[in-house]
Symmetry: C2
Subunit: 315 residues, 2 copies
């Protein structure tokens, strides 16, 4: 059994590689819901959708989000009405949000709805929202008020410096059904190559999650989302710097040192292996850039191999 802490695109790609290497039913993803948002009255879970669509083979590879073969009738007409269209919602994608919103209004839990959508799309891996309770990532922008993740990320295209991040509702939240069990029982735990602060951070602050990871630290393998000092996607590099961390695999190792015994870094960062290990984290060097599904499968093999090697050598 493999449990993966998951953010967005990087996590989705690694998961897609993972289910090529092991049966999908043995893979569980605990997905960040800190950037869930309500827009036009609709409950949108961007990361759950990215992971679901990618595992279903329905994601749009080029765009990097949403569904393939998408149409945009609703947005085109919303624009004509003068509505808010900065957060693009495709016609097929909207069906997911309508479904989720109606089910939640009927009293279903987000975890139930997530499983229903995954099943309808033929996804066999287990997708767990980190919590059924609302936890919301809030960012204080330079010279501005606090805002939501989506406002920062999509509307402002993460161009404004971030001064602080907090996770509203986290302290009062409970882990989603199956989350702690998935952490306790997994043979291998993986922290996907997602933004450590905005994507993995919300999961870590759900009460019980960090404690569960610490208890399993030796079995936790993180994959660095930073390659040669840059984020492959999104603002992780700048955000790390803005919040006083080092925008490098060393900074990532320092952030994860309490919860992960191993960090997989890209070949490009081989020269920083000693510094990573100095942070108290075993460093594994491998190709981590997942352009094609084959790359993702290879990275999944590395992660699983690391866990197996460690297990056989020290247990």
């Amino acid at each position: 059994m493999i449990t993966v802490l998951a953010g967005g695109v990087g996590a989705a790609r690694l998961l897609r590689g993972m289910v090529r290497e092991v049966p999908a039913t043995q893979v569980t993803a605990i997905v960040n819901t800190g950037d869930d948002t309500v827009l036009h009255g609709l409950h949108i879970s961007p990361y759950l959708d990215t992971v679901t669509y990618t595992l279903a083979g329905r994601n749009d590879e080029e765009r990097g989000w949403g569904l393939a073969d998408e149409t945009w009738k609703v947005m085109e007409n919303l624009e004509r009405l003068g509505g808010e269209t900065w957060f693009s919602l495709g016609d097929q994608d909207l069906a997911t949000h309508l479904y989720r919103t109606q089910r939640l209004a009927n009293g279903a839990r987000l975890s139930d709805v997530t499983a229903e959508i995954a099943a309808a799309l033929g996804v066999e891996a287990h997708l767990l929202p980190m919590s059924d309770d609302p936890v919301r990532t809030r960012l204080r922008l330079a010279g501005g008020p606090e805002t939501s993740f989506q406002d920062y990320f999509v509307r402002r295209r993460h161009e404004v410096a971030v001064e602080a991040v907090r996770f509203e509702g986290a302290s009062g939240s409970e882990p989603g059904p199956g989350v702690l069990e998935a952490l306790d029982r997994a043979d291998v735990l993986v922290i996907a190559p997602s933004n450590p602060i905005l994507s993995i951070g919300p999961i870590l602050v759900v009460p019980g999650v960090t404690e569960a990871l610490r208890a399993r630290r030796e079995d936790v393998v993180a994959v660095s989302p930073i390659v040669a000092g840059s984020a492959l996607k999104g603002p992780a590099d700048r955000l790390l710097t803005e919040l006083g961390h080092e925008a490098s695999v060393v900074g990532v190792a320092q952030l994860y040192a309490q919860v992960a015994a191993t960090l997989v870094v890209d070949d490009a960062d081989a020269g920083l292996a000693a510094e990573v290990e100095a942070a108290g984290v075993r460093c594994v060097v491998a190709p981590t850039i997942m352009r094609a599904p084959e790359d993702a499968a290879a990275l999944a093999r590395v992660v699983l191999g690391v866990a197996r090697d460690w297990s056989s050598s020290t247990r």
Copy 2:
């Protein structure tokens, strides 16, 4: 100035005829919002939309609701997810609901949003929700619990007998901005050929509306939605019978006698003119079936002529 109490398709058609006869800016419609509903998290105002789309020339004539040249991508995908699709929402139409829901969430009033949508679609007539407060039509069905109008009308295709109707929230509601003024100041007041109980009924129970109509009774012209004992569309005939009224122009006259001095009935009901007048309502016989816009314009001329004749003969 002409003010029309409006339900759905019949009202929309009469209004379309009206704006052919007088400048659209002189026409105000007070529209039933008792069947507004929230579905998939979206605030849907079916009657406001029908009137708006029809006056914009964007309505689908054959289907009788929604927009012309509509596509159904969202519904097709919602069906694949196993979602609720009994209330069909086209892709273009959905943009209206997304816009309305977001604006209401931002604190706008339904009346503001209605004006914005009408303006975006080029509608010059004034469209007023009967109230900005939620008033909800609730129906007790035979042998069943109370349900919403849409559940009765769309989901159950109005096949179940109705035992009682009430308008939840009506007593605490206020007329929408401009509603009482439109009733006070109009030269002619028209009750459109809509379901007297389900479409006009909710407007009449908004506090102040019936009083305002009574004060203007001599200037109020109603058009019967019942022709030869049948509703042209929908369940008005059966509903009248089920609730103890006569499913005829005489029943309509009795229902409106307190608020309308004149009832326009179809040629087919010429034989009932004396009975209508016996109910205390002046009876005008004319073609009332609006197949083409020209029919609607002709009916509008009749209504305006009635008011003018009465005005010149008695004032």
